[in-house]
Symmetry: C2
């Protein structure tokens, strides 16, 4: 197995590219793919201040590492979600990485600062935990970017993630979600720009990036996500990719090229003026934003034990 | 397990409907679903003459049986594809069923009448066998409908088939195929109308229909299709349906409701005038139609042994 670039001994194969790489040229390929995604979708300007949403997993640590490598001013923001040992270990990985590099990382603890955690919110809302978790993360990332004067929030969503989300949206033909499933969402109405610089790279490459760069990341998957639909979509796509390497890339980029704009029309109107949350000042469609309503509903509720919740029918 | 309708003992569960049925009410449900599909998509008029594309498998025998049950004038047309014992057995099942009912069935043997068979055509064209097979079937069905003065060709494609085809089209975002993946294609340019009356029923229900009606069908799958991408798409959807019953129905009918028209625009122009094949008189875009070119390329080629061909990357 020889490196595509230098013909030296390769350490990894990337089947959808039908290519093998040595360490040096694998790392260069990853950086190049991130730079290409940034240019292709006009994600970042050279002097943008970037806030990286850091979980402590491979993707978020890798995207932070690569953005810094490419010369961007990128700081980290991490949320203690209160999902038992899993969250404690995740936060520790994020802190250890930031300290080793000497890069700024803000950590917000959901229970310490907002009085609830994800298992409790799932219990209170009687919905799958991923719902309250996603809501909280979006709110706190947006809020941190506004407070810190950042131009843009970068997340570690990779090609596998985006293809699986797209499959879910397509299986339901959810027009609104399809209309805005893009690798960059422009700033609007007080929300910062959101970018996904890893969309041209798979999760296996991100794990390899961390291993080859000596980055110790949280390997465990979230215990509350076990059995959720998103993981089922990933498995379905993995079985297709196994037979036809490149299927995920063709699915996601074919969507962006030939289909996304067909769904975008219906979502344009909602960009109109929003109100301001009377509790926290965030932009919102009502009087109180969804996060502050969640804080209110969870206030004083005893922390519940960690449970695995199956996706609903 | 009780029948949803009469509360008597049920013999089958239909998970996506969250319902169980006794024999009588299962058969009624199947007929009702076909009648509903016919009305919903304006597939058939009461006095249409229908030509059913019959393979000898469960779906084609069931759709013929149900259309006759619903009072339509429906005759059968079957092609001997020359895929070894599989084709011989399939044709025998079709003949036996037609004879038992006393319904007209025309059988055309591909090698006997056109000088080639599917394995040979796959060898000559160097493509997957399903490609030459589909081309031949479409041509001969259209031709038989014109010769026999039929208004419409009905095929046994069920919900599982259509959802798997849709998944393949979506994974590639094939705009042209997406624009015409409809349960009814109107007659145009000398091609008869095509309808798929089983789109509201799954393949498991069609097997049950045949068993409960005492119809002996070809149970084997085509040996040349083994390992093809379509079966991979079926498996991927089956894994999703297993966790979330109703996913396939929502995927296919959601597409028809909310997405198909977004892809239709690009395909409207091609409905313009076609030429006439100088060999067979069929409508075609060139001088000689694709089927007659296949006949020509295969002429005099020694029959090749049956091989299992994997889908290409």
């Amino acid at each position: 197995m020889k490196c595509r670039v230098c013909r030296g001994p390769a350490v990894i194969d990337v089947r959808r590219q039908n290519a093998n790489y040595c360490v040096e040229h694998f790392l260069r390929m990853c950086r190049d793919q991130v730079a290409k995604a940034i240019a292709q979708f006009d994600m970042l300007q050279p002097d943008d201040r970037v806030l990286v949403a850091v979980s402590g997993g491979k993707d978020s640590l890798a995207v932070w590492d690569i953005l810094r490598d490419l010369g961007y001013e990128a700081d980290g923001f991490c949320i203690g979600l209160g999902i038992g040992d899993y969250s404690d270990a995740s936060t520790s990985h994020a802190r250890a990485f930031a300290e080793s590099r000497g890069w700024p990382l803000e950590v917000v603890d959901l229970r310490g600062e907002h009085g609830f955690d994800v298992p409790t919110a799932a219990h209170v809302t009687r919905r799958v935990p991923c719902s309250a978790c996603g809501l909280s993360k979006r709110h706190l990332f947006d809020d941190a970017a506004r407070r810190g004067g950042y131009d843009v929030v970068a997340t570690g969503h990779n090609l596998d993630d985006e293809a699986a989300v797209l499959l879910g949206n397509v299986l339901r033909w959810d027009e609104e979600y399809l209309g805005r499933q893009l690798p960059v969402l422009p700033a609007r109405n007080g929300f910062p720009r959101k970018v996904k610089p890893l969309v041209r790279l798979g999760e296996r490459e991100m794990a390899a990036w961390c291993v080859l760069r000596g980055i110790d990341y949280q390997v465990e998957e979230c215990p509350m996500a076990a059995g959720n639909k998103h993981l089922g979509y990933k498995e379905a796509l993995n079985s297709i990719e196994e037979v036809s390497p490149g299927s995920k890339h063709a699915f996601y980029f074919g969507f962006l090229d030939r289909a996304a704009s067909r769904f975008a029309a219906g979502t344009a109107q909602e960009a109109d003026a929003l109100a301001t949350c009377e509790r926290c000042g965030s932009p919102t469609t009502g009087d109180v934003c969804a996060f502050c309503r969640l804080v209110e509903r969870s206030a004083g509720v005893e922390p519940v034990a960690l449970t695995r919740k199956r996706g609903r029918r």
